[in-house]
Structures are given as structure tokens and as C-alpha cells.
Symmetry: C2
Subunit: 369 residues, 2 copies
């Protein structure tokens, strides 16, 4: 694999592209499928897993979506660093990064598809798009699913639907999700209320890297919980509606912050810029949290429009694996924190202090004489 290909360009969906004010960064669809007659990966011995891999990968590479793929390799051909970068770009799960021979991954040329082979299921297929595009990612992935069905026989029960290793995925095998950036809901301390309300609707709110991970950088994944008893389109419609509502809550929270606590907004955004442009050592968590607040400042027009792309890219490239890939020698945590700070200062050097005049309602019109 050519690691440079993963690093040189940044997939549009990773950073939210041009989505309106950037609350919904990206949409993701995932389908779990298993090949009929073969044991699930966690039960299968290595030769059986390898056989499944050998049946899936060639089929995948026949599909139009996987022509000239960025990556199509067994896991044991990837270095630890390459796996880490795939995790940081949300292309594979943390669990899959721990896999070796008998498992594999294929990433399409434009990184809008990523397929894990022999993760928890034989196939974990994913499609990504920037902003809120759940229907689109569904139709993208449906095409790949149908394409593969001409080559593979999926384990399917007329009564339950698609069979999966974990019962929570049986039925549609589908998990639709969106990544949301909701700094104002966090600053306003409304986020816990939202998480609880969303939970009652049968949807899940998770941290940056999915299940069981911490929320960092005010980034949350919202996804469906159920896969049984509802059709794909019903699930998508419901999720779409809830995500739109959360995005509206975030917009309202921003308006409330600006209206009620303008100085707090100026302080938070100002200090985030101050720390990021002055630090000489910074952890990935602190960097992500501060970049999140700076991104809010950009959304609120306190920073020049061009800043947004710089901030979005920094949110990706300051992660440990991405940072390590810039250096020939293995870095320890202290060295990474130093290098991260140097990189951030360098990239933000041209971005001036946030303009707080509008937020603080300081008149910027020329004075009458």
C-alpha cells in the first residue's frame, strides 16, 4: 500500500465538505453481510477465514466502484501505522486494525467506500458522503450490495432477514450514522439532555470512533440501534429527521450563546486560537478540543473563510498515526506532542486572531464626523 495516497489528499466527507455551517460533517452507511455456509469469522479457523477472504476480494474488485482501488489488502500486509491511519480516517474499526491474516480491507479510489473482510462479519461494507446524505449513502451502498450478490450467496433467512454474527445486527444488517459537530450544545451544557432524548427514540449517540469511545472535539456519531422490524428506508427517514433536529438545536444553541453570552464566545474562541498558535506541546485530545472551538469561531464568521479548511485538515492530521507518518523515526508521546504543536502553529500562522467585534456588537462602521 502506498501510505502517501492516504495522506496526500483528504477525502471530502472526512471534513464535512461544504455542508451548511458544518454541523453534520458526514453520513455513513454500513451493511453487515455473511457468506452462506461458512462460519462467522470469530468462530472460523484461519484457513476457513482465508477461503472466505479469497471468495470475497476478487468479487469486490469486479465491481465498478472498486476499479483502481486505493487499497485492497489482507490485514497482515499492512503496517501498524497504516492500520492506525485507516482507523483515524474512520475507514476501519479499531477492532479490525488488530486483525491479521484471513482478514482484509478494500478502500475505493475516492475513499467513499471501505469494505472490511472478516471483521465481526464476513463483510462490513461502508459508504461515506459529506454532510447529511443518508439516502445517498444508502443508495451508494445498495449498489455495491447488489453487485456482490451476483457473485456471492449471502446468509439470509426469509423470516429474520440477513444473518449476522451479533444478533443486534440481524435483519437489515444496516447501521446508518452521521458525524455531528455540536460545540454550542456542549458549551451550553445541553448535550446530555439531547443524548438521553435521542436514546429514548431508539437511536444511539457515540463518541468520535464509535461504540465505547470518548466524545472528543465536540464530535458525536448518531446512529440507529435497531436492524429488525423496520425497513431500511423507515430507519433512514427516522434518523434523518432526528439528525436534522439535533442540527437545528445546535444552531439555536449558537444563537443563544451569541445573544446571551457573547463575551463567553469571544473568550472561548479567542483562547482556543491563543493556545493553538502559542503552544509547543499539545496532546491530540486537547488539540482536537481546541480545534473544535476554533471551527465554531470559523462557522460564526470570526475567522476568515479560508480558515475552515485549515482547521478541518488539522483535526485529521494531528491524530497520532497521521503525525507519526510525517516522521521517519518512531516518535514517543512527548515527541509527538511537540511535533503536533509545531505543525499546528505552522498551519495557523497565517490566520489572524479571531475578529470579535461583531460578536461583541462593537460598531465597525465608519463613524460620522
Amino acid at each position: 500500500m502506498n501510505i502517501a495516497q492516504l495522506l496526500d489528499t483528504t477525502a471530502e466527507w472526512l471534513t464535512g465538505g461544504n455542508s451548511r455551517q458544518g454541523v453534520v460533517i458526514s453520513s455513513r452507511m454500513r451493511l453487515a453481510r455473511n457468506v452462506g455456509g461458512a462460519s462467522f469469522p470469530t468462530w472460523a479457523k484461519k484457513p476457513e477465514r482465508e477461503k472466505v477472504y479469497e471468495s470475497i476480494m476478487p468479487a469486490l474488485l469486479k465491481l465498478p466502484e472498486f476499479q483502481n482501488p486505493l487499497l485492497a489488502e489482507p490485514m497482515d500486509k499492512l503496517t501498524v501505522l497504516e492500520k492506525q491511519i485507516l482507523v483515524e480516517q474512520h475507514l476501519i474499526s479499531r477492532e479490525h486494525a488488530a486483525k491479521a491474516g484471513g482478514s482484509g480491507v478494500a478502500v475505493s479510489h475516492d475513499r467513499s467506500y471501505s469494505i472490511m473482510v472478516n471483521e465481526e462479519d464476513h463483510l462490513r461494507m461502508q459508504a461515506f458522503a459529506p454532510g447529511l446524505q443518508l439516502r445517498e449513502v444508502w443508495s451508494m451502498l445498495d449498489a455495491v450490495d447488489s453487485g456482490l450478490e451476483s457473485y456471492l450467496q449471502f446468509a439470509f433467512s426469509p423470516r429474520y432477514g440477513y444473518l449476522t454474527a451479533c444478533p443486534t445486527n440481524v435483519g437489515t444488517g444496516m447501521r446508518a450514522s452521521a458525524m455531528l459537530h455540536v460545540p454550542a450544545l456542549v458549551l451550553n451544557e445541553q448535550i446530555n439532555q439531547i443524548v438521553q432524548a435521542v436514546g429514548k427514540l431508539g437511536l444511539a449517540v457515540r463518541g468520535l470512533y464509535g461504540e465505547g469511545t470518548e466524545a472528543m472535539g465536540n464530535l458525536f456519531q448518531v446512529s440507529n440501534q435497531q436492524t429488525l422490524g423496520e425497513s431500511e428506508s423507515e430507519i433512514i427517514e427516522r434518523l434523518q429527521k432526528v439528525i436534522q433536529q439535533i442540527a437545528e438545536h445546535e444552531q439555536n444553541a449558537r444563537a443563544v450563546l451569541l445573544e446571551k453570552r457573547p463575551r463567553y464566545v469571544a473568550d472561548q474562541v479567542g483562547r482556543a486560537h491563543g493556545a493553538l498558535t502559542s503552544c509547543y506541546s499539545i496532546s491530540s485530545k486537547e488539540a482536537l478540543n481546541l480545534l473544535s472551538i476554533l471551527r465554531l469561531g470559523s462557522d460564526l464568521d470570526m475567522l476568515p473563510r479560508a480558515s475552515r479548511q485549515v482547521i478541518d485538515e488539522l483535526m485529521i492530521v494531528t491524530q497520532p498515526g497521521h503525525l507519526q507518518s510525517r516522521c521517519d523515526q518512531k516518535l514517543n508521546a512527548d515527541e509527538r506532542d511537540g511535533m503536533r504543536a509545531d505543525l499546528i502553529r505552522d498551519k495557523l500562522a497565517t490566520i489572524n486572531k479571531p475578529d470579535t467585534r461583531q460578536v461583541l456588537r462593537i460598531d465597525t462602521r465608519p463613524q460620522d464626523s
Copy 2:
């Protein structure tokens, strides 16, 4: 009293003047004296306290040191704000600020003397000087003490020495102290060790405003504990030696930080500058702590020489009372925090980011071609 006089100029000893690298900011001498035949202030009724006040104040104003005094008033003539400013400038104790009629304060023209009348004792006389000048403040205060003795009869026992309200002051009635700025000892986590060692030598280490107050801004007061069984000059010699040693430890700690953790130093000083120049709301405690680190940066030549005076003045004028005095309306804590941030940003606007090249050993010489 003209509050503007207290605010317009800053006494040299308050900010350390030009003392070498500014570890020892100031020296202070305090003598406790009581007028013979009158009850101690805490036991005396108001008329008796007033009688003592009426005997002391005119005597004081006859001394050459108290010609054209900055202030010579009974406490009930001072506003709450004026009292607070006197506390923040270390001219009176917090306890004395709570006093009303029957107590008073006199501050000499150049603010190098401050006399509290009817605090815990009838007289608490103080002399101040910048840097480490314990012998000098002693001889300054000795002159006032002798001068007053020609007008007043002090309570004195041939066996115990000067008698005081609290037995811990009996004897010399003297407390000599120095204010030290030891950020490197705090950053290196050596300060607790030093506090313990100094305690074993019969000396006390206290916070910014003396007994029972918190250490803020890496500022500590070191003083003698005992007043009995040692002469004034013995106490001073011993204290002087210990303070010099602490100052040397601080210099060593700075050298160790620069040698072993240069990036940490750059990060701390950089971030302090970043936060102070970018904040829109800041508490007095956070401001003092950050200004302390910026002062270290100035001592380490990471900031232009002119920055030192700005920083030192900000350490005084960002205190709540000083800040309130800049505004006609009574400010609440939130408003003060906002105004403090505005003041700091304004004063530091001309001071560029710390130059970290020397600390990080980045070659700044012109390259050979």
C-alpha cells in the same frame, strides 16, 4: 484621601524594581509596639482606642518620614474600595481593612512606610524596599521607631522586651519578610520541599497576602517566626541567608528547566502569552498565575526588556479593587473578569509572542553560504 494618588504611580518595591532577575521582589520589616498603660486594641473600648489613636497620629506626623504623607486617616474615613486597594498593595492587612473608628492608617509620601494604628497592636509599623534589602528596611524602620519613642512610652519589659497583644510577637516585636517570585521551583515541583526545609529553620513561608492566604502567581512570603531570644540583627542575618539560598535554588531550577525541558518552558511561556493576549474574561487568580509565567519568560529574555514593567504593573492593577477603581459603576465578578481581560489584552498588545529560539536552541546566526 485621594485614591488617584495610590493608583497613578506604582511604588518601586511593589514590583521588585530592578532587582537581579527579580526573584526577590521586595523586603518588608514590621514592628509591633504598644503604648504603655493602655489596653491592647482588642480589649480596649472604642473611646480608649480613639485616645490611643489621638496620641499616636500627631506624633507620627511630626517625623521627617511622614511629612506630606500619602495618607493619614482613621479607618472610618476610608471607603471599602480604598481599603481594598491598600490591602492589594500590601500596605494594610486584611484584618485592618475590616476596622472602623478608633483605628487608622498612615502611608508615607513615597509609600515606603505604612503604619497601622490599632490593628492587633496599637502600632504595626512597616517599611518596604525593592529586592533583598532586609538590613536597609530594618534601619529605615528603626529610625521611625526611635523617632516615635521621643513622643510615646512603649510597653516594654526588661525581661521579655516589647510587649504585644499576641505572645508570638513579644520580644523584638519584629517580623522581617521578603516576597519571592519562584515560578521555576513551582514548575519543577521543588517548592514543597523548600517550604518544609525553611519551616525546620524556624522560618515561615506564606502566600501572597501573608498568614493563611493562598500562594498565587508563584509568589511566596518568607519571614521569621520567632521574636524572642534573638536580637534583630541575628534574625535578619539568618533570614537573609535563607532567602539568598532560596533565590539561588530558583536560579538553579530555571537553569535545569532550560537544560532538561526547554520545550516545556517554551510551551508554558508561549501559552501564558497566548491566553493573556486572547482572553475576553479572566479571574484575578488565573491572570496572576499567567502573568507570573510571562514574568519568567521576561526574566529568561524571551520577551523584550520593556515587557517586565508592563507585566509587573499588570500583576498589581488586575487585582479586584484596582480594577474596580477604573470604573464609576460597581462591577460584579463577571464584569470585572471581562474588564480585566480587556485591560490585559490592551496593555500586552505591543508585546510580541515570546521568542523561543534561544530556549529551543534554534540557531539564529546568519548561515554561511
